[in-house]
Subunit: 199 residues, 2 copies
């Protein structure tokens, strides 16, 4: 069985979005700066810009996703991303954790709606085979994984911005967990660190 | 005039202490893990252990403090540290921001009590001459510096631990600030990153 890897980008003050994120406002007000590392520099939603990672970002991303078999994201993130235009852009099945499974898109979309964290994880693991399962966010999905004790690796990209508001990754999280630093990838628009979660 | 450098260690979930920090309980419950990088590994308050930084930690620390002229800490941090046994262990005057300046210790202690952030900064800058002024914590002192717009550099050591409670560095902080990554020092017990605060 592969690993469960929770990966997300946070601001230095711990937010995964700026204020007022959601459909039509993506990562929230000012939140585009969280993903400068993905785009290789400043961008806006008006741009038709493609991904453009720097070398260190790419090294991090490729190492993290090398054995990826499937992924899970929360419905909020799926909606905020506009369902990525209706087609899963990732090279693996993406399970969407949602209470509203009746919205299930066509199988050809590459998305599969699942209700309940345990069910989503079981489905993603079955789909991944020997591969890893990614928990891609939002914050509540990653907290659920950490609460459930199923996260093997936490991969945090810290962007050089203080947002002052938004959705906080560890909001309401009260568990004490030891981590081990596995690797750090310093880059221009983020510091990427992979942590093993100790059991 | 030198730079104002705010430097502090945080957990991955953004706490500068564990729960219930204070006199007799130092960095709070479980908070010793924040300073494994300072000690070079696991330690407890019962140890008579000396500093023992690894090479990358030392490189970070030496670069950060190379031009240090003076420092400021909050009274809470001073008290939680037991006034470092009554003698300033740092190679520069340490100003203690406090409402209770009547407790002023002897000048030979190397500590100087000052009331009010602006007064403390003015006194520390005068004392530092061309040197840098460090804002060493706690969290509220660093937030005051960031609010006042006087912090040139923010130096964050992120320890590989999730504390689940304690004093949060950015608690109640609502400003949006752009940062620039100046340098990252990956180590075993912390990832150290120096950020320039954009004006």
């Amino acid at each position: 069985m592969g690993k469960v890897i929770a990966a997300i980008t946070v601001s230095l003050d711990g937010y995964v979005t700026g204020p007022d994120d959601g459909p039509g406002n993506g990562l929230g007000t000012g939140g585009e700066r969280l993903h400068y590392w993905v785009m290789g520099g400043p961008w806006t939603y008006a741009d038709e810009r493609d991904f453009g990672m720097g070398a260190a970002d790419r090294e991090y991303f490729d190492a993290l996703t090398a054995d990826l078999g499937s992924g899970i994201v929360g419905r909020g993130m799926y909606d905020a991303a506009g369902a990525w235009g209706g087609q899963n852009p990732f090279p693996a099945t993406l399970f969407v954790l949602t209470h509203r499974v009746e919205d299930q898109p066509a199988e050809s979309s590459g998305f599969r709606f699942v209700s309940g964290f345990d069910e989503a994880l079981a489905a993603a693991r079955a789909d991944a085979g020997d591969g890893d399962v990614s928990l891609g966010g939002g914050a509540d999905l990653i907290r659920q994984g950490l609460e459930a004790g199923v996260v093997d690796e936490l991969a945090i990209s810290t962007a050089p911005v203080i947002l002052g508001g938004g959705k906080r990754l560890f909001e309401g999280f009260t568990r004490d967990l030891d981590l081990e630093i596995l690797a750090t990838y310093p880059a221009t628009y983020a510091v990427h660190t992979r942590y093993a979660v100790q059991r």
